[in-house]
């Protein structure tokens, strides 16, 4: 027996904290602000919430309990997640499942981090260019100088270049276009436009990735409120109906099979498209997990916006522009708005469907938004499809 939940639930409130180089607030408290803003956006109070699914910096034990404490909530359902950047959509999936099975009615979901404060702020105790002790106490990596997040995506890009002839110049279009989007977002961490020359001259991090291929180090949090489509009708904002979701985790690893170039986004997107009864041609805007330019390009292929191997020419064609084939990461993404592990992409998808943006930021006639999450040990993937209408 299958139950199709498409259109039965909705995001009814969205909120964020200050984002970017914030400083002076811990990750859980940034998330508390985002949750408050999401709950108030929906026209609700903390007394109306009976479910909570959260994630924060990974060392916080029983994260949801800490959040409930800060938010003054006892709830009938709560949990915290552990799938990296894929978790934030998975939280919304769990919320729908919990409501469907009668565990609760109205769930707040969110993620917060204080990465800029920890690594780059003047008050940071961690020296720049150092890595955490936990990353060093391992084998099959640190002893070879394999450290930090970019390397896995450098590996993947080296393969994509060898298999399909993808060029650095093509990837540059992603960085430049997303910065252009961020330049219209007054809250974005990086608003100064960049040129293809800036991209070509950016310093290498782990070749073939340079600084502008890498997402930002940010503080920030985002949250959403999920409830039934029925209840959504009486709330303050136009709902973003949850039309489809899916996930897929290539747990055997990024180095296994062809997972680097045929990512878990393939199976995750198929599940979400199937649930929604939609395909790539029906999507008006995409908010894709862009930890690195490479990942965004691979997702464009794996979501079916272009053929496998053609991501390079596709992004170079202007497809990601606001008036392009698939307006993508329209608030600037993690490359330019702020890196909040996919949470801001969820907010941007929902906001585009409200049609409340000034014209220079609004995707014209946006009816359906697709959002992705990716992470863990680079193998967990999740997909969310939102609609302005329930079907």
């Amino acid at each position: 027996m299958t139950t199709n939940l498409s259109g039965k639930y909705a995001i009814v409130g969205v909120g964020q904290s200050a984002i970017g180089q914030v400083g002076g607030v811990s990750s859980t408290n940034l998330l508390a602000i985002a949750m408050k803003n999401a709950i108030e956006d929906a026209g609700l109070t903390n007394k109306d919430i009976d479910g909570l699914v959260s994630r924060g910096t990974d060392e916080i034990y029983c994260h949801h309990q800490k959040m409930g404490e800060l938010m003054g909530m006892n709830v009938s359902y709560s949990n915290s997640l552990d799938s990296g950047g894929a978790s934030q959509i998975m939280a919304i999936m769990l919320a729908c499942q919990a409501i469907e099975t009668g565990l609760c009615n109205t769930v707040v979901c969110g993620y917060g981090r204080d990465t800029w404060s920890r690594t780059r702020s003047p008050r940071s105790k961690m020296a720049v260019d150092m890595v955490s002790q936990s990353q060093l106490g391992l084998e099959f990596g640190p002893e070879f100088g394999i450290l930090g997040a970019p390397v896995d995506y450098a590996f993947a890009l080296s393969r994509h270049q060898a298999l399909y002839g993808t060029t650095k110049e093509q990837l540059g279009h992603i960085a430049v276009t997303l910065r252009k989007h961020a330049s219209k977002n007054p809250l974005a961490q990086m608003q100064t436009p960049i040129t293809m020359d800036d991209y070509a001259n950016a310093r290498w991090i782990v070749e073939p990735l340079n600084l502008l291929d890498c997402s930002l180090l940010s503080d920030g949090a985002g949250a959403v409120v999920v409830t039934t489509a029925e209840r959504a009708k009486d709330l303050k904002q136009p709902p973003a109906y949850i039309l489809g979701f899916g996930s897929h985790n290539n747990l055997r690893g990024w180095y296994h099979n062809d997972h680097m170039t045929n990512t878990a986004a393939i199976q995750s997107s198929q599940a979400a498209y199937r649930m929604a009864g939609l395909g790539p041609k029906d999507i008006d805007t995409a908010q894709l997990y862009d930890c690195f330019t490479y990942m965004l390009m691979a997702e464009l292929e794996d979501y079916g916006f272009c053929k496998k191997g053609e991501g390079g020419p596709f992004v170079a064609s202007g497809a990601l522009d606001l008036d392009g084939e698939i307006p993508t990461n329209t608030s600037g993404g993690q490359l330019s708005e702020a890196h909040v592990e996919g949470m801001l992409q969820i907010l941007e998808g929902a906001r585009q469907l409200r049609h409340q943006y000034p014209i220079e930021r609004q995707v014209p006639n946006a009816e359906v938004a697709l959002i992705s999450g990716h992470g863990g040990r680079t193998v967990c993937h999740s997909t969310l499809i939102l609609g302005r209408q329930p079907s």
């Binding site: 640190p142 070879f144 100088g145 390397v151 180095y255």
Partner: protein
């Protein structure tokens, strides 16, 4: 060989499942597990075969020949021990027995490394207690 008291890079921290592998490296042998039941090899070493879940398996000596599956070149220094090494090449190497392992590729300028390039293992006795497996062009 680098003198022990000057070697300032991270050393591998073996788990119970990988101690025999690192002991093999000290003897300049690249040991990988091979399943008695289905014949597959895997890496990193672990208690059962990820293909068929058999716990019956042997350590076998890999040929040490393989190819570059994917690679990257570090320019940024993430650890002070590598300050003098940048730019250095890291790679996912696919052994001819099948498993893939991360390592360094040396003996070739980073700009000349290519995906699918044939490589072979060599051993670097970095301290009296630790030997690393690395690869060079075959």
């Amino acid at each position: 060989m680098t003198e022990a008291n000057t070697y300032n890079k991270p050393l591998p921290v073996p788990s119970p499942e990988t101690e025999a592998f690192w002991e093999g490296c000290k003897r300049h042998e690249l040991l990988i597990p091979r399943c008695d039941k289905c014949g597959s090899h895997w890496f990193p070493p672990s208690i059962l075969c990820p293909e068929c879940l058999s716990t019956e398996w042997q350590w076998v000596k890999a040929s040490g020949k393989g190819k570059v599956f994917a690679f990257g070149v570090y320019h940024r220094v993430y650890h002070q021990g590598f300050k003098e090494e940048v730019p250095y090449t890291v790679a996912v190497v696919e052994l001819e027995e099948g498993p893939r392992m991360v390592s360094n590729v040396t003996g070739i300028p980073p700009t000349d490394v290519k995906v699918d390039m044939p490589v072979e293992v060599y051993f670097d006795d970095v301290t009296p207690e630790a030997t690393l497996y690395k690869f060079k062009p075959a």
